[in-house]
Symmetry: C2
């Protein structure tokens, strides 16, 4: 298996872009990634495109307009991990020696569903009976707060941090700071989660150019991929603790082993904060703190900008937004910018090692669809 | 890159199974593939699921019911090549040393669209303006027949052969033989293509278990994967000859080089005969004959059962059917059965080397979406 580096990245500002097509969304990100990589289209040997709702041949349709045709294109779907799964497939293909240079795209357009629900399979009986994502995370929140003897106000700090960071991120959908009072007073979505504790829906795209380390020009320092892990959840019929994110725990343990680092060596993390409670649960599952210590970790400032291990300096899903298939790729783009020191007012000072975590897809009433973790190093 | 073998295969009879869910369709194929491989679920380290219309997390939903959860699952979409692309991704991952044993699923259910059209992207302007697949292949047929100075009756023999073979295949959707007169007298779909020259729509699923050759038990002979190739089409704005299948030509040339064989060394071929003209064009693109020689090759019996190089002994897409994402996997399953000598009355005697070819996805008015070619050997 060969070492893999990120040579170039691109992203569009996330938001509600109902007037743009999938191609319109993805094209600027692709062009920016190629320019950032200092390569032209013929050097791209293969493309992996992650999208949940782009439809048949979404990658090929984008690439035709980009004038980037003729090579292998693989479209990948893994719910909230679609973009990160595309990244992982590209990493496998390069590590295998199959290709030297591969383009990764993550893109989705959720405004296409305005006026109607996101299409669900008829056999997805949990969702059909109300176990949609806000409900799942609300149940997890209630369980977690009960176990810790905390009130719902303990959650608000996650959104406050996310929006404070997002205010510094020109790519974020939500760029205004909010107070804890505003978070708690916003309209209820699924008790105890209020509107400002749920990621917004929107549209976005991000792209990366990966190369074999041996094929990347030596005159530039490239961000290295130290680990790439994917798992889907185990389905067990017995009782489970909804407040434990088992799938993320398993994936993180494998990622740390593959990268040869421990969680204390991370300088920055981009994790899947689709809801406030998610960030707290994933602190524990990623071993940034022990069980039950997440709220204390948050309130200590440890995970804030300026803290020892900033989490979601981009604003995360709560502020950057969460166009399903785009998120995993966007997290990786943000991480590359962080490890290059290009993030301006949201820069994590001296960041050398970072982790990205995309997970989701409701099955069995939990986030059992797919969990993807990547570790990057400057 | 490590050698890869097929350890086990499974398939359901293709047909119109409106009452079955995606999981219902795929599960028997998965169970049969595991049993055929003589392994149980914990030995499967990863799963690639190819489907065009299964929706979000289709693989995970199938696998949950199969009790096969916890490992990495990647859903792959590449139009008519979806199942074959899943096969190729699995092959890459094993060849890379990432996994020893991987499950591949190809599945789609086209009866879900009965009463309405298959959903197309609004930006797919060729299709929106009438360049749907039967129209594209009708234009190609007209061009080809014009160039060769032939009448439309030259096409009928492809369907006669397909249905004759399908009559021997318990997995085929169409199991009754037809005559050339019946083919030509069936109702017109897109001139010169009549109904019996177009593959039926339907539902189906197929599954394969792949392993590293080094990880497969030595007490059995396994079918080897000699080549796995994927390309998407080049988009060129200038004039092109619609009767030349450039994408298949390029892919085949690469596949023969990877496999270290020439087209004359093939004992059996399963190619993408979505329409009669397609089979003729692909004879030439796969170099089974020279340019303009396809009708002569067909009429000589060379590609019939009992001929020197039988093509589509399964009945192909015209008789087995073409549930989009299932086809590429089904071709591979048929090929494994052929190379093991398990095909009964449709067996190609002494078959040792075979090629499968799945291509499609209309873009730019041609089959520019994705072309996948695999070469297998007993």
């Amino acid at each position: 298996m060969r070492d893999v580096v990120v040579r170039g990245v691109g992203m569009i500002p996330f938001g509600r872009h109902a007037e743009l097509s999938y191609t319109d969304l993805a094209l600027p990100a692709v062009v920016d990634a190629l320019q950032d990589a200092e390569i032209d289209r013929p050097q791209i040997e293969a493309v992996y495109c992650g999208s949940s709702f782009g439809g048949m041949l979404i990658g090929q349709r984008i690439l035709r307009t980009a004038g980037l045709t003729g090579g292998p294109v693989v479209n990948v779907e893994n719910a909230c991990s679609s973009g990160a799964t595309a990244l992982r497939e590209a990493w496998i293909a390069i590590a295998a020696g199959m290709y030297d240079t591969v383009l990764v795209i993550g893109v989705d357009k959720l405004t296409q569903f305005d006026g109607g629900p996101i299409p669900l399979d008829r056999t997805d009986w949990e969702a059909a009976n109300g176990m949609v994502m806000p409900a799942v995370y609300a149940m997890r929140a209630n369980r977690y707060l009960h176990e810790q003897g905390l009130g719902p106000e303990a959650l608000a700090g996650v959104s406050v941090k996310a929006r404070a960071n997002g205010a510094h991120n020109p790519y974020a959908q939500m760029r205004t700071p909010v107070t804890a009072d505003q978070v708690l007073a916003s309209r209820p979505v699924a008790d105890p989660l209020t509107l400002l504790q749920c990621c917004p829906t929107g549209d976005g795209a991000a792209a990366l150019v990966l190369s074999a380390a041996s094929a990347a020009p030596a005159h530039r320092r490239h961000v290295r991929v130290l680990a790439s892990v994917l798992h889907s959840g185990r389905f067990t019929a017995g009782p489970r603790d909804m407040a434990v994110a088992e799938l993320t725990e398993i994936s993180a343990t494998e990622a740390y082993e593959m990268a040869g680092i421990g969680p204390d060596e991370l300088d920055v993390v981009e994790l899947h904060d689709a809801f406030t409670i998610a960030e707290l649960m994933y602190y524990e599952a990623l071993q940034l703190c022990g069980p039950g210590e997440a709220v204390k970790l948050l309130e200590s400032g440890h995970t804030s900008l300026g803290g020892a291990q900033p989490v979601n300096p981009s604003g995360g899903l709560l502020a950057r937004g969460h166009p399903i298939g785009a998120t995993g790729a966007a997290q990786a783009v943000e991480m590359v910018w962080q490890l290059r020191g290009q993030c301006g007012p949201r820069q994590v000072a001296g960041a050398r090692v970072g982790l990205t975590h995309a997970t989701g897809g409701g099955l069995s009433g939990l986030d059992h669809g797919a969990c993807t973790i990547h570790v990057f190093a400057a």
